[in-house]
Symmetry: C2
Subunit: 224 residues, 2 copies
């Protein structure tokens, strides 16, 4: 009888401890909603480079990070942790939800930009009320900024490559010439896979500019 009671008490205590741990590990709902609303700013924040070049309905920062992450899926380099690469791509511009998309032409020094963005990240993540989640997001962002791991190195290449794929699309669909974006990335692509994609894109563009392009075509949406 006593043993049975003690056993039940022990089980109950263990259960309560588990429940408390699980509850403590979750992000508080009001904090989560605040975070999601902050992330939502990236959907309406237009990439400054396109705005400055009068691109019509330019993509959002979220659009850019989305395709970057999808580029990550195609990296087969065994030295790269693909899941981590995809996460670095998703997080690398998160600070822009607070500070906006600062470009080299905005008169803000690289150091000041870094300081502003790090402060923004701390502000966004400090509000989460969950250290484990905040630490993961901060580590991914710092990895990209400080470029220590192989994933950060590839993510930086994908960031620039995604930009020139988009520049090429705006040239084709909006009859623009966006040379500066291609010039700014000359010699930048050193990862073998990204470098081969960049060569393909530059060849395709060169053929188009020479007025003779047969290029890889995207599938066309049928509706929407």
């Amino acid at each position: 009888m006593v043993w049975s009671f003690l056993r039940q008490l022990l089980l109950l205590t263990a259960l309560m401890a588990t429940t408390t741990t699980a509850a403590a590990a979750a992000v508080p709902a009001s904090k989560a909603l605040g975070f999601f609303r902050t992330v939502g700013k990236l959907k309406t924040l237009k990439r400054t480079g396109w705005v400055n070049h009068d691109v019509f309905e330019p993509e959002s920062v979220a659009d850019h990070m989305y395709r970057m992450a999808m580029l990550g899926f195609l990296i087969t380099d065994a030295a790269v942790d693909k899941d981590r690469l995809i996460k670095v791509c998703l997080v690398h511009d998160l600070a822009e939800a607070v500070v906006g998309d600062i470009t080299p032409h905005d008169g803000v020094s690289k150091e000041e930009k870094r300081r502003l963005e790090e402060t923004a990240m701390k502000e966004i993540l400090g509000d989460l009320g969950n250290d484990a989640v905040a630490d993961e997001l901060m580590a991914l962002w710092l990895d990209y900024e400080d470029g220590t791991g192989p994933e950060a190195a590839v993510a930086k290449q994908l960031d620039k490559y995604e930009m020139i794929v988009q520049a090429d699309e705006y040239e084709r669909t909006q009859g623009k010439t966006l040379d500066s974006f291609f010039k700014s990335t000359e010699g930048y692509f050193t990862h073998p896979e990204v470098a081969s994609w960049a060569r393909e894109l530059l060849d395709s563009r060169a053929q188009r500019l020479a007025g003779s392009g047969a290029e890889p075509e995207a599938k066309k949406p049928k509706t929407g």
Copy 2:
């Protein structure tokens, strides 16, 4: 002499085999570019639900999947493989790049939508020229569609939750009433974390509609 020559020949053969394997594993550059251009369609494809409700400058399908993936970062449920969840979120609407965003109000049956989207996925991925990458993307998409794993179950909840967070934002910023989106998700949120986030959002909305809302506010971008 002969042995030395044979050894070098063997080494060379081994090296060539390695190089061939590595080359075979990569996605051919022209295929990769075609894929990226297809993915790019998701940046300009507007979500049909918002278009049908005359939302001004509605988000893209890429915007939606981006925030869904970011919601995934906040799931702390130990039963869920978070990296896989994030990838399911990124891939689940990929077929829309070809078939567009078909909604329940478009007169297309669920079965026909599924058939169209599966065909589109096969078309997109069949063009990749890399079975390993194509298989991963297809498995993630099928997981979401057929909902067998815990990640698929949570991803479906995030899909609807992200939609109502966005509906609430359009209500607040565009003075709209988008009741139908909230009605269509009543009773849908069963995962404890997503359910708590949904309750918080619905409470916040109810307070706003009652004209008294103090709600979690997003950080404001300072530029851009």
